[in-house]
Symmetry: D2
């Protein structure tokens, strides 16, 4: 018998992608779909690509609407999840696509988000060391940020194997959907087409402490991350270029071997054959992460590059994958590794 | 037991899309994948988004390779299908994504393609009047062109109901994948990004006679089509703006009613609610066609606009849909009506 | 001695483009630059491409700020120009980039804009028959809409020569800057990239009566225009595909001859050699309009296609060109026919 | 009296941009325009944006064609410049947009280009310490690569002031025109739109030794550069994100002060106000480089980001600027600091 899932924040990009994936999930039946300012509108007017749900009407994001579901996905602005979650039954699996419960450190939360820390939930990146164990049977899941997903997958094998010095440098390009659906001048098509621009430079981006948390855990020692995000003229996709000084004795061979070992059994993380490089187009709409790693002999650095779809593996796909693990379903259920290209 | 399907021309855009859809088809097992100049290469290097097939190696497009399959998809350059088809067993279902067998008129073929006419096969647009009947049990299918699919779906209800004069005017914008994967200067990213341009103006485009054929059949009298295709800065999608003088007595109400009646039971053609207009983004990767129709009172014209994904409903999805009909499978099997957006 | 020009609405796309062109104009010195909600901000933060003006601070759009200039460009939301204009001295040349004074017919204005008609000013399309004469010495100029510019240039030679029946069908694709800088969900980069969509279908677009006005004047009899605008995934550019039934006796030769004659001496409208088609990329940032014309023998239609930059020839360039004519300066002064491509 | 300039390789992107800029240069008259396989074609068919040159016919790239000009721009494939240059008169100013004469080290040339080293010419980046002096009166100029221009401008102030450790990490995104006009599958619009992808990872890109050369000279000691280029879905522009560990005692204040001092008098390099970040759109078609610099306190790194137009400041604009210096003309002559945006 199918499980019933509600999606709060169904008019946004993350909520829409959760719905797109749940429509293809054989064990899930879509229950309530809710919005805030859009409550009362047809979903067809807001998410015209979700044709089977076109006649659904958005309900308000309220406890009584979300009650009675087996799973509730929260795709709300940061800081709003805790209030909603505490009104839901303990037995409900809550999957939070927001940032609220990702960080272990209350100090980090307060520094980067400027409000009280709501707590820490099991972290929805099964590929990290110990990641699956933490999710099994969980009733609360904090879905990782899109950048931390791309960066953590790219670098954790190097850190777990002790091949990289603890000062990572990351430059990542993201499609515009990562910035959400709220209209702002700098996100207009006229502004972003034909343009690349950085933002949150110098350590200020809120995803930085999340990367630090993941990579430090993998390394077993504190890792710093110099993170520069850039906005790219495409709707979806993250390309993360990550590097760190190699530790003594690293060779191209030991590096590749470490990645092959770490990723061998992963269904969604794919180390490309040598000489082939990831592109975001190849993972458009898929839950795959494509990886490649290189050793720059002259600069003595490990360079790991990952491509994901920020909305799929980076948000909604990661959420569904983690839900599968939590519920004891096959991890790949309802998720595709096939991109829509060209 | 699954049917085995081969795909000839698997390194191109049409062939790649056929494979993408077949991977999701529950009754199909993918057999041989073949190429011409790319034979011997890993599919992963040519179609990196088709991750489950990454380690497949392209075989040459040869009769002995294609033999022994239940279904053979041909995604070859125009004019090459006949030679391949005649070497395959009669019982094999051959689905030709090329133009070779689409036209009834040998004279039209010779005028627009400049070679001998290979014949006419059942036409793979089930939505046309009589379309399904012609496909049931067929062992040969001519998949429509992408533009004729978009235009025929947009206008056949008006012509079938006698609401439009027989001089259609069509301007359609296509994504660049419609022009194929063979590198040419005008298809470079540098040239197409930020640019709209027409081509084949004045009646010269090869898809014109196919539109004329379909609309004349729907109207029961000869229809002319003034067709202007334009190249749009996007990889996928066709937006077709089609119009014709309204016949006497047409009102907005009778027009809409005719479309509602004609499309009521169609699984893949969706008339949008009044006031909502189709976009190609909403059908990205889906087999849906989104339609809207309007009556321009001042100019006294019927205006019908359709959006499809040129590679899905416009090529590979139409091919799979027609295959389903021919084989007696549920028409929607393995096909999605959900787009990947934004 | 240079003339001083003020630009009201300098933070928007039209105002920004006026400034870009005035910076290159040898007879103009830029005076006040004004905004409404952005008053008080550095122009560098709003228009970072206008580096020489980066430290200018936007003043409020007020009579005392705009007073004392030789020329005042208004790039304001429709309906606001009249109130500003009436407070400026009679001798000031006012160039209105808005719609307020374009239409001759008060009834049309009221139907399409829903407010009282402010009046009619000399129309800033010098290429139209009688266009230059109407502008010479004018102290008020109504700059044409971007679509009417593209469409009128494409079709007036056919209508003026009596080669086209009076029912024009126009489908035009516009870059997103035509929709302005006010953030709206459907204009987000995430929504427009990879997507084509129509709007204002069925006669409702406000630029329709302006096209009707221009083409009827050229034809010397009433012309109807069935106009469908579409939004294209590019920041700039309009490609207008325009057609009409040919009148009796038209041939490809007479058609081309009529265009050659009509456009022979135009500095900014360029009929391409036969076989070459316009693209919006080729006019990116230039004041040129590229044209091509074809006679579709089968459909018996005249097809004329034009490409312009909606912000340059379609707005600010047309404004500066008309200003030059009004002031008795060389018409091409400060304007370029060279596009920025690729 | 104007100087006559020839452009060899006028059908490519670099050659086309040289022509675009020379058309606006008051002291230059355009002489011969040459091509290789395109010789005999109208320039209008190849570079339709260069309207004033549309009727020029490409001549072959031969000594007798290039002879008799005051300046000859070479925009040829790497490795072809030496043979052409040695056949031109000593007094001719040769400006080579190719790589042939950029590197001081013959060993580096051989390692990265695999052929014999042709020599070293004065380097066309006037902003580098000593850059102008080296160019004054020169009769040979090696125009820098596009990436080295962006990266050297971003980091030289930090290195010259001793504020950065000698291990630079650079990730740069380039528009597709940087890859040239020769059609290749991975450069098709269908492939690049919606996609980011890296290439030449791990130290292999040919522009790396040029960056090392420039930054080492600025630092006065050997600097390594870990350089990862990425292809971005836009026709033009480079965004270079460059970083290095800060040396002891660096503060945000000392860092900014060093950049302000180094760039104070530069006409084309513009340090943005604090809090504002460069975008490639703002320099589209302009010769400006926009810079911003930040000190990441946690990661203890200097982060410098630059945006240029790869074809303008990164190639043809840099070439014209250096020509101006060499000829004793005002350095800014014929060059614009204004971008075409949006």
């Amino acid at each position: 018998m199918a499980l019933r899932a509600a999606v709060a924040g169904a008019s946004g990009y993350a909520g829409g992608e959760v719905l797109r994936l749940l429509l293809a999930h054989p064990e899930i039946e879509i229950g309530a779909v809710t919005g805030n300012s859009n409550a009362g509108q047809r979903l067809g007017a807001l998410q015209p690509h979700l044709l089977p749900l076109a006649d659904r009407v958005l309900e308000p994001t309220a406890p009584e609407v979300l009650a009675g579901h087996d799973v509730v996905f929260l795709a709300l602005p940061h800081g709003q999840s805790a209030a909603v979650a505490e009104q839901l039954a303990d037995g409900t699996l809550i999957v939070d696509c927001g940032a609220d419960f990702r960080l272990n450190s209350a100090a980090d939360w307060e520094k980067f988000y400027g409000s009280g820390h709501a707590g820490t939930w099991p972290y929805g990146l099964p590929e990290l060391p110990g990641g699956r164990a933490a999710l099994k049977g969980a009733s609360r899941i904090a879905v990782p940020g899109c950048y931390p997903t791309a960066v953590s997958l790219a670098l954790f094998p190097a850190y777990a194997a002790g091949l990289a010095e603890p000062e990572a440098v990351v430059v990542a390009a993201s499609g515009t959907s990562g910035a959400g659906k709220t209209p702002k001048p700098h996100l207009l098509g006229s502004e972003v087409m034909g343009s690349m621009s950085p933002y949150g430079v110098g350590g200020g981006h809120r995803h930085t402490p999340e990367m630090v948390q993941n990579l430090s855990a993998a390394a077993g020692r504190p890792v710093t991350v110099s993170f520069t995000p850039t906005l790219a003229p495409m709707p979806r996709g993250i390309l993360a270029t990550c590097s760190a000084r190699a530790t003594a004795g690293v060779t191209a061979h030991t590096l590749r071997a470490a990645y092959e070992t770490a990723l061998r059994d992963e269904p969604f993380v794919h180390l490309l054959p040598e000489g082939q490089w990831p592109s975001t187009a190849a993972v458009h709409g898929s839950n795959s992460a494509l990886l490649q790693v290189a050793y720059d002999e002259t600069a003595h650095r490990v360079i790991a590059i990952s491509a994901i779809d920020n909305l799929t593996k980076g948000t909604a796909g990661g959420a569904v994958q983690s839900m599968n693990v939590a519920l004891g379903l096959p991890e790949e259920l309802g998720l595709s590794t096939i991109g829509v290209a060209p």
